[in-house]
């Protein structure tokens, strides 16, 4: 009897667990409410900020229009997951909307169920698309079509320890890499042969390289077809146009100071512990550094140092966009998704998301809102980031290089070898150019 009761209790508990689990995630009970599935890639504070926006939408526009958005964290590899579904021909299980990075746009372009923003532009009711930042529209435009809706935007900045600058008698952050090298020599501290305080910490990878290459001259492309934006990128061009050599020549000055740390361990914490005078990091880290440093010392941010003094290109937009799909072949479902996507890029939600996460607003309307001046007065670092993006040419972008992981690994390995002295400038240059081109050629041979 005891045994039977035990089994019954377990079964009852399992049934309760199943139904309890289902209740939280199930579609809304009301048959008149349309459920929109949204996959996002963010964790921690950023995830809470996204969920807050989704809740706000559900409680306002969603309530009026009968739309309920379900926000689902899918890891940081949404593009790969979408690709897997596409490979299996499983269009039904595509989400209605997904947050992806720019590098995933060329793949997404090929999916049958993709609904490019371009197709719905004229039917916008919530968002004025003219208010979107041109850099960010360009970031998610492929083959002359706006594919994704800009959502989170970040860019590379120089973070510096103001107290160390004052102590070394440096009155302004460096404008160029050469100036940065001079500053590193003055800021680094050695104990015998051992460096106990580095002047600069950054690992130069694809993201950093895209900025240093893109910012040269008025603007510059990483590869052919405008860095893969007008057609798939088939080769890198920074070897032919001399921009890679120009960057490496300047970067050699940084390496030669001996006060440059080329690997990133816990860059946020190390900067906060004053182990480095300068670091190059995304604008998205401003909030993290603020919380880590507190009142311990004065620090600030500045635009990314240029390769050549007369460069005008500026910095590339990083971050993510939201792409839409039509898995059910249902125009009304697409319309519901479109309303949600417009909302996410609108001024008020973008201001809120910026305040919660530090991502730069994608909507210029944010700068007209009440409270923005007070916000920037309290948080001048964000103003530097916004100004740096506004001063940048929209053509300066991260490339649509398709095999971005491979390109990242090639650049990272050669730049590390260059910094450690195991490769000369020429070896590093030729290694990056030849290997990137070989990998792109392999890709196009298999996919051409």
């Amino acid at each position: 009897m005891k045994k039977i009761l035990g089994i019954a209790a377990v079964l009852l508990a399992s049934a309760c667990a199943v139904f309890a689990g289902g209740a939280g995630e199930a579609a809304p009970a009301d048959p008149n409410v349309r459920n929109v599935e949204f996959w996002h890639t963010m964790t921690g504070v950023n995830a809470s900020a996204i969920d807050a926006l989704v809740d706000e939408f559900n409680n306002t526009i969603g309530k009026e229009e009968g739309i309920h958005v379900e926000s689902i964290f899918q890891g940081n590899d949404n593009s790969e997951k979408l690709k897997t579904l596409a490979q299996a021909g499983d269009m039904e299980n595509f989400p209605d909307a997904a947050q992806i990075a720019g590098a995933g746009i060329p793949s997404a372009y090929g999916y049958d169920s993709l609904v490019p923003v371009e197709e719905l532009k004229d039917s916008a009711t919530i968002l004025d698309l003219d208010e979107l930042e041109p850099n960010m529209i360009r970031a998610y435009t492929y083959m002359d079509q706006m594919i994704g809706m800009p959502f989170s935007c970040s860019a590379l900045l120089l973070y510096y320890n103001q107290d160390m600058f004052d102590e070394a008698g440096i009155d302004a952050p460096p404008q160029t890499i050469a100036e940065m090298a001079d500053d590193i020599s003055r800021l680094m501290v050695k104990d015998g042969d051992q460096v106990v305080r580095y002047g600069l910490n950054v690992a130069v990878r694809r993201y950093q390289m895209a900025n240093f290459i893109g910012g040269q001259g008025d603007y510059n492309f990483f590869g052919d077809n405008e860095g893969g934006r007008t057609a798939p990128m088939t080769r890198v061009t920074f070897g032919d146009d001399g921009t890679l050599r120009a960057f490496l020549t300047e970067w050699q000055k940084v390496i030669e100071t001996g006060g440059y740390k080329p690997t990133e361990d816990d860059i946020n914490e190390e900067f906060a512990l004053q182990l480095h005078a300068m670091v190059l990091m995304s604008t998205a880290r401003i909030g993290k550094i603020k919380s880590l440093v507190g009142d311990n010392f004065n620090w600030s941010v500045a635009p990314l140092p240029k390769v050549n003094p007369d460069d005008k290109g500026g910095i590339a937009v990083g971050g993510s966009c939201i792409v839409m799909f039509d898995p059910q072949n249902d125009p009304e479902q697409v319309d519901a998704t479109w309303k949600f996507v417009q909302y996410m890029a609108s001024a008020e939600p973008q201001f809120q998301f910026h305040k919660d996460t530090g991502y730069i607003p994608v909507n210029k309307g944010v700068y007209e809102l009440d409270g923005i001046d007070e916000w920037f007065a309290e948080n001048p670092e964000y103003k530097v980031a916004v100004d740096a993006i506004h001063a940048s040419n929209p053509n300066v972008q991260e490339p649509f290089d398709i095999i971005n992981w491979e390109i990242d690994s090639i650049i990272m390995n050669h730049m590390l070898a260059f910094a450690n002295g195991t490769e000369t400038l020429d070896q590093c240059h030729d290694g990056i150019v030849n290997e990137c081109n070989q990998k792109l050629a392999d890709y196009h041979r298999a996919n051409g």
Binding site: S107, P262, D265, E269, L273, L275, I402, Y443, A446
Partner: protein
């Protein structure tokens, strides 16, 4: 009568059927498909385009990153399996005699089984930080454990060794406690010290368990990818040293780079190497394992 005989013969097969169906669907079929596809040029959607013979294999074998991944896998296997089993065996011998407090330390020794690999990776990453980590502080060194090509794989192996101790300990404790007490006591009376007893009695008697652990651990080590991917493939934890293993290299080629050509060939090369290793292990079993 004949009917009954047939039923009796079919019955065990029916019991095996669910397992066989799963094996065919999730192991043998994907393996065959991978093996066949590795001889074709495959596009990013996984469609075979043309037969290319051994071209994919030759390209992968000529890639420096893959050769480093092979070296890393072997280093990991050599460091992880024997060291973790040796430590577990020592702990099992120490914990052999059940006492009032043995429950406590048995649980403590086995506790690493309950720790997730990604959590362990986060903990060790903090300890390994060259400037603010505990390890350099304790040792008085300034080694960049996870970013120095010479140290990175050793540092990763230490994490796996630590994590495997709990699992190995449980098996070895059961094996050591299963040895006839009379045998050990008579050896002690005859004047055999702990080392003599360990080498002469304990190790031969637990050799079937040791063999099982060595073989499974070596195969698992050859297939390791999780720690390598955690440390090299994440936005927040990325090391610049090459600590890829064969399987993490395969994963990156196939999933991140959509390069199934290199991915399939790598998978088959990794399988062949592991298979050879298993054959060698089973050859050793005939000589070194005592089943009575």
């Amino acid at each position: 009568m004949r009917k009954k005989g047939l039923r009796a013969a079919a019955e065990p097969l029916l019991y095996l059927l669910p397992a066989i169906i799963f094996f065919i669907a999730f192991t043998y079929y994907p393996f065959l498909k991978t093996a066949i596809s590795s001889f074709f040029l495959v596009d990013s959607m996984g469609r075979a385009k043309e037969f290319v013979g051994f071209e994919n294999y030759l390209r992968v074998l000529a890639t420096p990153q893959f050769r480093i991944a092979v070296k890393n896998t072997i280093v990991y296997m050599i460091l992880n399996a024997p060291v973790s089993i040796l430590i577990s065996l020592i702990l099992a011998i120490i914990a052999n005699k059940p006492t009032r407090s043995s429950r406590v330390y048995e649980t403590m020794f086995a506790l690493t089984m309950a720790i997730s690999m990604s959590v362990a990776a986060m903990i060790f990453r903090m300890a390994y930080n060259p400037s603010i980590g505990a390890l350099n502080h304790i040792l008085g060194t300034r080694i960049n454990w996870l970013n120095d090509p010479g140290w990175a794989m050793i540092a990763v192996s230490v994490i796996a060794t630590w994590l495997n101790i709990g699992y190995n300990f449980l098996f070895l404790l059961a094996a050591v406690r299963g040895i006839d007490k009379g045998l050990l006591e008579s050896a002690e009376i005859d004047g055999a010290g702990i080392f003599r007893r360990t080498l002469g009695i304990i190790i031969p008697m637990v050799s079937p368990t040791l063999f099982f652990l060595v073989v499974t651990q070596m195969a698992k080590s050859m297939m390791m990818s999780s720690l390598a991917l955690i440390f090299t493939n994440s936005a927040t934890l990325s090391t610049t040293a090459n600590i890829d293993t064969m399987i993490s290299y395969m994963y990156k080629q196939a999933v991140n780079n959509l390069n199934y050509n290199d991915g399939y060939a790598t998978a088959i090369i990794a399988f062949i190497m592991t298979f050879i290793l298993m054959l060698i292990s089973f050859r050793f079993e005939k000589k070194g394992v005592h089943y009575n």
